[in-house]
Assembly symmetry: C2
């Protein structure tokens, strides 16, 4: 059996009891480590499981899936995913490969940012499409996600913004030379995301439209949701741009742009996170 | 501390290890039992926890929250929620009351239908707003959710449909007489939901628009997601209407209306669930 197991959001004990039982009876255990991260490291997981864990990078999952699936019809193999197993296309792809190879698959669900975003106090049924914000490069300021935000705003819906993660990236130079030297991992902070959004606005980038957002759009930052170090802040984009980057703390970060259809209960809940209220009370 | 703990989707072992530890050290444990259900009953939970559990109905949560929060600043109290704690407005409200009463709150996230809908193979970031379908009554055929589906369809997004649950409802007669006699619980099946959708269409109900759906709209049924008894079927609404109700099995059911922006990977994944493919291969 191939167990595809969601680890949830934060630490080694966010796995479900069903998930833990599957891990402990597995002969091989892989941890997918390029679409998200836990707040604990691999040795901590191994200690808790009493088992060794193989870290699987994008290359391995996408090109060596046969090795992952090897003998999985006879023995138990666990493939661990931060969040929920269906949180990224690449996992759906692995499940499909297993299915096509006749390997029985059991998916063990868990929380992911897609539903834990409810920690903001915004009701999940009021969210529209989710968008991902890529890092600007020296030559490219991607804005193709902006029209999707505008789609959501037109119906009054909130938008969850997933912020870019770069793991095991090669510099163009090393890539050209075929050198397998990897850059340190980068996790986009709320500050970077807000600055990128405001840059697209200021430069009137192609694809940007003020139907999507302006500097006065209400936004909510989410840092390390579900952990004891969770930080949530609410303010306009202009206000969040003024917040010291350190206040958002270490990764992972996500953001929400708030739609116009804001209920009283939602508004009351997010008031406690307001950066402008805090300033007033100081 | 008030622990608000998601139980996940299916059985007693879908709780996280963090959640279980919190339950086992709590002095009082409440189970919210009117917005969703697990596939196991309360004695099973109690046996697994080694603790007794108080079932909290809507009345208790909404009008007796003081009793739930009693002394929760000094002792540990667990409030258990099927799915994720932020899955229903009523839980957000309880968290808010706790916050206002100065009770420290720790939320322990879990999977909910809002992210486990990914089991369909449809990518979660392609979902728009979520809608709820209420049961028709003798005098009322609600269609107010239809324009929201149309909003999603216009942007090519998928729509998750949550199907009505009626727990501890009183008949109008018993309500009028003040008799606390409750009807048996009712959980809307996919068959009922499909029939209601097609009735709104056939009758040209106010609010219905063919931009939202027609009988040829592709839909996916989800039964008991995340459990070993999970059943997923894909077909047009007309095709799903022809499926024997028993094939969808016992509750809980949900549905997805598929938007036009269907990726190849999504299409390939849901092919295995197709009711029309099955008919062809018979």
């Amino acid at each position: 059996m191939l167990y595809v197991i969601g680890l949830g959001l934060s630490d080694e004990k966010d796995i479900t009891v069903n998930g833990l039982e599957a891990v402990r009876k597995s002969e091989r255990i892989y941890l997918e480590a390029y679409t998200s991260i836990l707040l604990v490291d691999v040795p901590k997981l191994e200690e808790f499981y009493g088992k060794s864990v193989t870290v699987a990078d994008r290359d391995m999952v996408e090109t060596e899936s046969d090795a992952i699936l090897d003998r999985a019809s006879e023995i138990d193999v666990s493939f661990l995913v931060v969040g929920d197993p269906y949180g990224a296309t690449t996992h759906t792809d692995l499940i499909l490969r297993a299915r096509n190879a006749g390997v029985p698959v059991k998916v063990i669900h868990n929380a992911s940012i897609m539903n834990a975003a409810g920690a903001s106090g915004l009701q999940l049924y009021n969210f529209g499409q989710t968008v991902s914000i890529p890092f600007f490069t020296e030559t490219w300021k991607p804005a193709s996600f902006v029209p999707r935000i505008a789609d959501n705003m037109r119906t009054g819906s909130h938008t969850l913004l997933l912020l870019d993660i770069k793991v095991k990236e090669q510099s163009i130079e090393n890539l050209a030379r075929g050198k397998k030297i990897f850059e340190p991992p980068r996790y986009m902070s709320v500050s970077t995301a807000v600055n990128q959004l405001l840059t697209l606005l200021e430069e009137g980038a192609e694809g940007y439209t003020e139907e999507a957002y302006t500097k006065d759009t209400l936004a909510i930052s989410l840092s390390r949701v579900g952990s004891d170090q969770q930080v949530i802040k609410a303010g306009t984009l202009a206000e969040l741009a003024e917040v010291d980057e350190e206040e958002f703390g270490p990764p992972l970060h996500s953001m929400i742009l708030v739609g116009s259809r804001l209920h009283d209960l939602e508004a009351e809940f997010i008031e406690a996170f307001s950066v402008s209220t805090k300033e007033k009370s100081q």
